[in-house]
Symmetry: C2
Subunit: 188 residues, 2 copies
DNA sequence: ATACTCATGTAAGAAGTTACATGATTAC
DNA sequence: GTAATCATGTAACTTCTTACATGAGTAT
């Protein structure tokens, strides 16, 4: 069975019971999006494909006059999810514009590198703030299923590591480039 | 000027003198590919577009009967590169299949999570080995331009952090799930 | 009333990968 | 001679994002 990478996010999100496409998108945005994103434009067509392949089943469950289709895993779908979990991971991709800019910092005036590091740091701090916002909910759910919280902590701790790296790199650049502070003019 | 994200890799790679599309690809594979990849299918068409936009200039420089077009930055291209360096980074995307599997590990039998962590660790170790292979070359070039080496060290150190995290997470899971080792059968 | 959330879907396009085709030069 | 490297390019395809269209229910 050849499935698109995003198909497994959907199968995984259905592991604990039926959900609509809208709910899957919501769950992704509150959890996996930091290391595996998915948009409506992927989710809805993929749900249709998975249903055709017999891995999920859609059931119409309107709320009043508001239509809604909840999908649940079939046995074949659960089996496919397990087989995927058995295989070693392949994709590990990073797309980091801040690092790219730092790589090319030699093309700018001296001092630009420090600005680039600070800007990168700011971007990571924003990401970290978003992760911290969802932390209490993930922590509360950890007693039922500890893994989403474990992964969230990975996100938080790795962001903290990046911020610390930025500080170190900044200090190193400042130290080699300009004179050390020691502004003891008052004494002289 | 609206440029594709990959356009800036090309402009950046030309910062220290002319290069052919083939050489740019080579440089990317030996450096930025760990946080910003690019394929021939992007590089060659993009070089044509950049030349039309006046940001690079192509010069035919055949080696014997082997055709070769070396591109160099124009003043406008260098200016565009500097303006991009001035803007704060936007993209910071991760696509980590190992984390996704760990997130869904509750759908598999207990003990699978440890296997998933070990597999993730192996993948990072492979990446780290590739980075260490290019380290001596990057270190040697650091006296002329320190930034590529700085970024490489980021790659190496962050990989080491991930490996350490995997060890910690593994120990934690083993600790809560099964009894601690203490196989003192010989005493009893 | 009006804004927000729930809900589904598609169309267009950007971005990126893979595979292929071609051909010269160089190293063994 | 044959394998590797240098070198350019395209076509087909997959993936993903963005924007749009539609419409019902809910809270203010």
């Amino acid at each position: 069975m050849e499935l698109s990478p995003t198909a497994y996010v959907i199968l995984g999100m259905l592991r604990n019971g039926p959900q609509s496409g809208y709910e899957i998108k919501r769950a992704v945005d509150h959890s996996t999006r930091f290391f595996w994103a998915a948009s409506y434009g992927q989710i809805y067509p993929e749900l249709t494909r998975l249903a055709k392949a017999g891995l999920v089943e859609g059931h119409s469950q309107p709320t009043g006059g508001r239509r809604r289709t909840a999908y649940r895993l079939t046995d074949a779908g659960r089996e496919e999810l397990r087989r995927w979990l058995d295989r070693p991971p392949e994709r590990l991709e990073l797309r980091d514009e801040g690092l790219l800019k730092l790589f090319f910092a030699g093309a700018a005036e001296p001092g630009k590198a420090v600005e680039i590091i600070d800007a990168k740091r700011r971007l990571v701090e924003e990401k970290l703030a978003a992760l911290r916002k969802i932390e209490p909910y993930a922590a509360a759910a950890a007693s039922t299923d500890p893994f989403p919280y474990l992964v969230l902590r990975y996100g938080i701790e790795s962001s903290e590591w990046v911020i610390a790296w930025c500080e170190r790199a900044r200090a190193e650049l400042k130290g080699t480039r300009s004179k050390p502070k020691k502004t003891k003019r008052s004494v002289a």
